[in-house]
Amino acid sequence: MQKKVYQLLANNTSGVLSRITGLFSRRGYNIESITAGVTADPKYSRVTIVTSGDDAVLEQIEKQLAKLVDIQIVKELKEGESVYRELALVKVRCAPDERPSVIAITDIFRGKIVDVASDCLIIEITGDVEKIDKFLDLLEGHEILELARTGMAGLSRGMENVVFLP
């Protein structure tokens, strides 16, 4: 089993995301995370999928995705050649006297406090999946009340893999 990140360029039409996720569920492939959003050209959406499987399964995932009528490009975002980011919002229980320690950890991870209440905080943090996992580990001792992670978005580095669309 290995993990791979795929980037898809798909028609920005209704139902396209359900076609993609439907393909994964009916063929028994894993989705670890999926993110989607419109591109600079509103005709297209860019989708980042993190998936895992053995070589044969990953090859099939790539081919089956490419076969979907609405998908223009399927591209692997290779580690080292790509930038991956995820955003997480973390609501932690935090009494006023605990704030300095939580803020200190947040600062080290270049996170932001985006909401403060008398007994809790919301922290916004972006980074790759490992960074967010580590941040959450370091919050140990503070009760995480709610956690919202977006899943990974990614782009390949440099000009080489840029696809110019009509």
Partner: protein, 539 residues
């Protein structure tokens, strides 16, 4: 012009001659508008058979079959037919009526999310949201259905769109699908590898799948095999591509195929898999066809290559284009010894049946029947023992077409498919062969033959059992039969007389030839009931 008129106009622009279907309120605007057109409509008796009939039509005419049904139960009923076509890559354009756009999602009467429901059985689907999109959508639907790896496309049209006004109808001359461009031409570097491997090979074999017929590459593939003397086998969907008497033909592969065909695959050093997906029934152990051999896999669908067997040389492309290219190349292939070896296997491994003389022997009967069929006849086998007997014993002549539901194995396929096939080319002799189980799944369509004035020639293998399942229970459950007896079946003579069909019966092999002659010569609709040993086995 309203949407419904535009839909009919789109079909006219595509050259559609027949629409198979069943009405209901949500498709009524369309069926009202079609009255103004020369397009003929065929009212089937249940929606599933509209798709099967369209499938038979598509396979004989090489253009997409078209069906139109209503929303809700009409749409859900047709799903099995769509899935059947999808599994065998048959091009269909399926139009479904839908409830009013602003009511979608509120569970109103006869509402079903059909685009969602068929997602895994269609190449693509549309839910029309604006009547002005109809011309583009129809153009794209026909293009997608009939290019690349063919398959069904569904267009769901809400009733308000059918009644909505289109100001400016213009049918597009071409499609502009940014994200859909199937590969046609084979990669030249891969073709060079094919040449190299075939030249090194002393035991090559070509395994022909349904894609060869679908890609209209029959002539090219046969010419290639004949030019270089390469032996051929077929999958079930490939039957009909090579005449049975062809010197280079060694039968159907698979667990229901010929032992010598499987032996040939196992002994070969290079396998050219053409338009076949290495499905489990054809190749039960994919590692056997890749271990110690070179697998050249030629398919228009890249996802089929490597799915079930890892190929040494993947070659994505249209079969016809690839073999046209291969025919221009020089090869140095010598496999005379190999052919001799295969001929020996064919003699040694020929299965011998011991027919029960009290009944009709399926082998002898099918042999006799198919020998008597005219040039260009269409033989449609249903699903069950009748199908396996047909695959094993049908005599294929050079222009015979052999149709069956291979991938999905849908019982009841043959009768509606025969209706569609006959309409596609009335000059061809069309025979549907089914079991007493599959007959009863589609017998309501006898009325459709009568109403549409299409000649029906139906053969029913009667063994009073769901024979294929009984055979499975014989081997797997030691004759503990469950749910396989067909007691209570109707008297077929009485049944078909209600439809004014002529009836023939063959109890044993005595008079077999004469009965078949009379049945085939009959100008009326006819059904021939053939009594088979209930305990007969295909293996």
């Amino acid at each position: 012009m309203i949407g419904a008129e535009a839909m009919v106009k789109c079909l006219e622009q595509e050259g559609v001659k027949y629409v198979f279907g069943y009405p209901g309120v949500a498709i009524c605007p369309f069926y009202n508008s079609i009255l103004e057109s020369d397009i003929k409509t065929v009212l089937v008796r249940t929606e599933q058979n509209a798709a099967h009939a369209a499938s038979g039509f598509a396979r004989i005419s090489d253009v997409p079959g078209v069906c139109a049904v209503t929303s809700g139960p009409g749409a859900t009923n047709i799903i099995t037919g769509i899935a059947t076509a999808y599994a065998d890559s048959i091009p269909l354009v399926v139009i479904t009526g839908q409830v009013k756009s602003d009511l979608i999602g509120s569970d109103v009467f006869q509402e079903a999310d059909i685009t969602g429901a068929v997602e895994s059985f269609v190449k693509y689907s549309y839910l029309v949201k604006d009547a002005d999109d109809l011309p583009r959508i129809f153009k794209e639907a026909f293009h997608i259905a009939n290019t690349g790896r063919k398959g069904p496309v569904l267009i769901d049209v809400p009733i308000d769109i059918q009644n909505g006004v289109i100001r400016n109808f213009k049918y597009p001359e071409s499609v502009n699908l940014r994200t859909y461009k199937p590969t046609v031409k084979g990669n030249s570097a891969q073709i060079k590898k094919v040449i190299k491997e075939l030249n090194k090979s002393s035991k090559p074999i070509i395994c022909i799948g349904g894609g060869v017929q679908l890609g209209q590459a029959k002539d090219e593939v046969l010419k290639f095999a004949e030019t270089h003397g390469i032996p051929m086998v077929t999958t079930m969907m490939g039957i009909g591509t090579v005449p049975s008497s062809h010197k280079l033909y060694f039968g159907m592969v698979g667990n229901n195929g010929k032992p010598y065909a499987n032996k040939a695959m196992n002994e070969a050093d290079v396998i050219m898999m053409v338009g076949a997906r290495v499905a489990d029934r054809a190749i039960s152990q994919p590692d056997l066809i890749t271990r110690d051999k070179v697998l050249i896999h030629i398919d228009v669908d890249p996802a089929e290559i490597g799915k079930n067997a890892v190929s040494s040389i993947p070659l994505v492309g249209d079969c016809k284009a690839v073999f046209e290219e291969l025919l221009t190349q020089d090869f140095d292939i010598e496999c005379g010894e190999w052919i001799k070896e295969l001929e020996r296997y064919k003699k040694e491994l020929k299965p011998v049946r011991k027919p029960n003389k009290k009944y009709v022997d399926p082998e002898g009967f099918i042999n006799e029947l198919t020998t008597k069929l005219k040039d260009k006849a269409v033989y449609i086998a249903d699903v069950g023992q009748n199908q396996i007997f047909s695959c094993a014993h049908a005599v294929i002549k050079s222009n015979t077409r052999f149709l069956t539901s291979g991938g999905m194995g849908t019982m009841g396929y043959s009768i509606p498919a025969a209706l569609g096939a006959k309409l596609a080319d009335p000059s061809r002799q069309v025979v549907a062969v089914c079991g007493d189980g599959s007959f009863q799944m589609s017998m309501m369509e006898l009325a459709t033959f009568c109403q549409s004035k299409v000649q029906a020639k139906i053969i029913v293998f009667n063994n009073s059992y769901l024979g294929m399942v009984r055979e499975y229970q014989h081997y797997t459950y030691k004759d503990n039969y469950s749910m396989v007896s067909l007691d209570g079946s109707p008297n077929l003579e009485k049944l078909v007389s209600a439809y004014d069909f002529d009836y023939y019966r063959l109890a044993d092999m005595k008079g077999c030839s004469e009965v078949i002659d009379a049945f085939l010569k009959d100008k009326k609709n006819a059904l021939l009931e053939v009594m088979i040993d209930p305990m007969d086995l295909v293996k």
